[in-house]
């Protein structure tokens, strides 16, 4: 079993935004890993490991489209426990999701992977597109926004729980397949692989890179491809029409009673 996990670097979402003309200025940004990709890597690692046992049930490969010398996020995921990396050396900021999906799909094909796991979105553009597009390009079944996942190795299938507006939808999809994960996939009991005891309690959230993992990360194999070598011409069919900061919110007020609140909602906010 080979699991490919997409990982992206993004400008630190906790930094305040700077604007340059009609764009967000990232020239002095700190680049960090997309949090949802951390959840994706955690999902793959939970699938691959057999707690209490040394055998690994899957190889976990992290794949990033990024300039090859800006790979710290890839190293971070190798330190967390992924087995190796694949970098597509390109300026991903100049590409649209379709191009990224094509590159990811091509890596998936060449590696002969069985499963693609992605974060449901990246926190910068919040596009929520790559996994679905890659599934389309690969013509594979998909389950997006996975909150729980059970790997049935006998049936070579995944059962995925998706939180939807009116409840939880449960889908069973055969492998090979594409899954995108939501935040709740890293709750202590969200991922089951049939090997680790079903009642094993993982710690809440993605695991931390251990000191040993950090030391080992640099020794792990990372292949670098160019888009051309993968037969993809980078392009973008998306044009940015404008970028503006959200309006500043006015200061709030603290009122001393429900009556005052109602009065203000009628007379000042005029919403009642």
């Amino acid at each position: 079993m080979k699991i490919l996990v997409t990982v992206k670097r993004i400008p630190d979402p906790d930094e305040s935004l700077k604007f340059a003309g009609n764009a967000i200025d990232t020239s002095s940004s700190k680049w960090v890993a997309n949090a949802f990709d951390e959840y994706a890597v955690e999902t793959a690692l939970r699938m691959a490991e057999h707690i209490g046992n040394k055998d690994r049930l899957a190889e976990v490969i992290v794949c990033s489209v990024c300039p090859k010398d800006k790979r710290q996020h890839v190293t971070q995921f190798l330190a967390m426990g992924a087995d190796r990396g694949v970098i597509v050396d390109a300026d991903e900021t100049a590409m649209d999701s379709q191009t990224v999906a094509k590159l990811v799909a091509e890596v998936f094909r060449r590696e002969g992977c069985d499963l693609l796991v992605s974060g449901k979105l990246s926190q910068d553009s919040e596009g929520n597109e790559v996994a679905q597009r890659a599934a389309g390009l690969l013509d594979l079944p998909q389950a997006s926004f996975a909150a729980t996942l059970r790997w049935d190795r006998g049936a070579n299938a995944l059962t995925v729980g998706r939180e939807v507006d009116d409840g939880v939808e449960t889908k069973t999809i055969p492998l090979p397949a594409v899954v995108s994960v939501d935040l709740r996939i890293v709750l202590p009991h969200s991922v089951k692989n049939g090997a680790t005891a079903d009642d094993h309690k993982y710690s809440d959230g993605a695991r931390l890179a251990s000191l040993r993992g950090i030391t080992m990360a640099k020794r792990k194999k990372v292949d670098v491809h160019t888009p051309a070598a993968l037969g993809v011409t980078p392009s973008s069919h998306v044009a940015v029409a404008g970028v503006t900061a959200p309006e500043k919110r006015a200061a709030g007020q603290i009122v001393d009673s429900a009556q005052t609140l109602v009065n203000k909602l009628i007379t000042e906010a005029k919403v009642l």
Binding site: D14, K30, V32, A79, L211, I214
Partner: protein, 390 residues
């Protein structure tokens, strides 16, 4: 855990000392502190001890193994790695956390350096995994500065050492499973001192807790040894050769104390800046007052100079030197820096800085232990002056 995660991978700063690996370590320890420590630290301070589960969690990410040999479950790391880890632990604003969670950092280096292979294999792996807690016991009720004249005795009886005496002010003393203890095995003075790893369940060992000004979540104890029997194999290094081991262990401890002082001074600065930005007096934020800004600049200047001093010494230590006078002066420089920054931070927070729950209130109570423990300020000056040939 929230949809917007605040833990972050910090890119390597432009500095000759720090690599990407240091920043990866920083990120791991920062997140560990945010997840495992910050939500509970106030409770642990009230409890007067850290839970054993915390040691296990720290063992799991390899934090307890930092700087110890790989064959016993450690991860080699240079002085800068130690500094980064300490600085990040300090962000929880509790010196007691650093003191007790990392008490093996003073208790175990003599074992790793001088212990027999059997002793190392027995003691180090469970300590580095966080299953066992380690402590160092030098200080006695009769005095801590004058190590050469310690009184706790150990005499050989068959295949056991029999220990009589007491130790006090021992960090992690209530919980420790392995206590690296300085004992008199020979005649008077420094030539009669040995180091012995006393198991926490050794017959004849009893302990009582000490209530302190600060470091509340660190369990400090007085230990009593009455015909306490310890297997001969628990001797660390050669008999009557313990004094040099204790002295060289102090170097690492003093560098560590300097790191804690700098980490805590930085927290004081950060807290004071945040408060001064948000607090308004006479219609304006405090930070707009020149008096306040100058206080903050003085703090930043002190921290910057002290950090640079530590880094310069750490660089030399990583190259095999132990500049003893500099380490002594650094310890004093750093603890004075902290006394300065803690005092000003509490002042800037005003009454809010005096109320339990403010980080700076706790840190203010923790300044003195750093200028007394691990070699008091006066002792540091004496040692430095001898080393400088004055």
């Amino acid at each position: 855990m929230g949809a917007r995660c605040y833990h972050r991978f910090v890119p390597a700063p432009r500095s000759p000392y720090y690599t990407e690996d240091h920043e990866a370590l920083r990120s791991t320890v920062r997140r560990f502190v945010e997840r495992e420590v910050v939500p509970h630290i106030d409770q642990w301070e009230r409890d007067g001890a850290l839970p054993r589960a915390l040691y296990l969690a720290a063992g799991e990410i390899g934090l307890l193994g930092l700087g110890f040999p790989e064959e016993y479950g450690g991860t080699p790391g240079d002085q800068f790695a130690q500094f980064v880890a300490t600085e990040e632990l300090c962000r929880a604003g509790s010196g007691g956390l650093v003191a007790s969670l990392m008490s093996h950092g003073i208790g175990m280096p003599p074992v790793a350096r001088l212990g027999s292979p059997q002793l190392k294999a027995q003691v180090l792996p469970p300590v580095l995994r966080g299953e066992k807690i380690a402590a160092l016991a030098i200080t006695e009720p009769s005095g801590g500065s004058d190590v050469a004249n310690l009184r706790t005795r150990a005499r050989l009886d068959g295949d056991h050492w029999v220990v009589d005496g007491s130790k006090t002010l021992i960090t992690s003393g209530m919980q420790a499973d392995y206590i690296t203890t300085a004992v008199r095995t020979g005649g008077e003075g420094m030539e009669g001192v040995s180091l012995l790893v006393i198991p926490g369940d050794a017959p004849g060992l009893s302990r009582t807790p000490l209530q302190k000004m600060g470091w509340w979540c660190s369990d400090t104890a007085t230990l009593y040894f009455e015909d306490c029997r310890v297997p001969v194999g628990n001797l660390v290094g050669m008999v009557n050769q313990g004094f040099a081991a204790i002295m060289s262990n102090f170097n690492g401890e003093r560098l560590g104390i300097a790191a804690v002082a700098i980490g805590m001074a930085q927290v004081c600065y950060d807290e004071a800046v945040a408060y001064a930005r948000q607090r308004e007096t006479f219609g304006r934020p405090l930070i707009t007052r020149q008096v306040i800004r100058h206080k903050l600049v003085d703090m930043a200047q002190d921290i910057g100079a002290t950090r640079a001093y530590l880094e310069a010494i750490a660089w030399r230590v990583d190259r095999g030197q132990w500049p003893i006078a500099e380490v002594c002066m650094l310890k004093n420089q750093a603890t004075q820096c902290l006394e300065h920054c803690a005092k000003e931070a509490v002042q800037i927070l005003g009454g809010a800085g005096y109320v339990l729950g403010a980080k700076v209130e706790r840190i203010y109570r923790e300044t003195k232990v750093l200028s007394i423990g691990g070699g008091a300020e006066e002792i540091m000056k004496d040692l430095a002056s001898r080393q400088l040939g004055l």
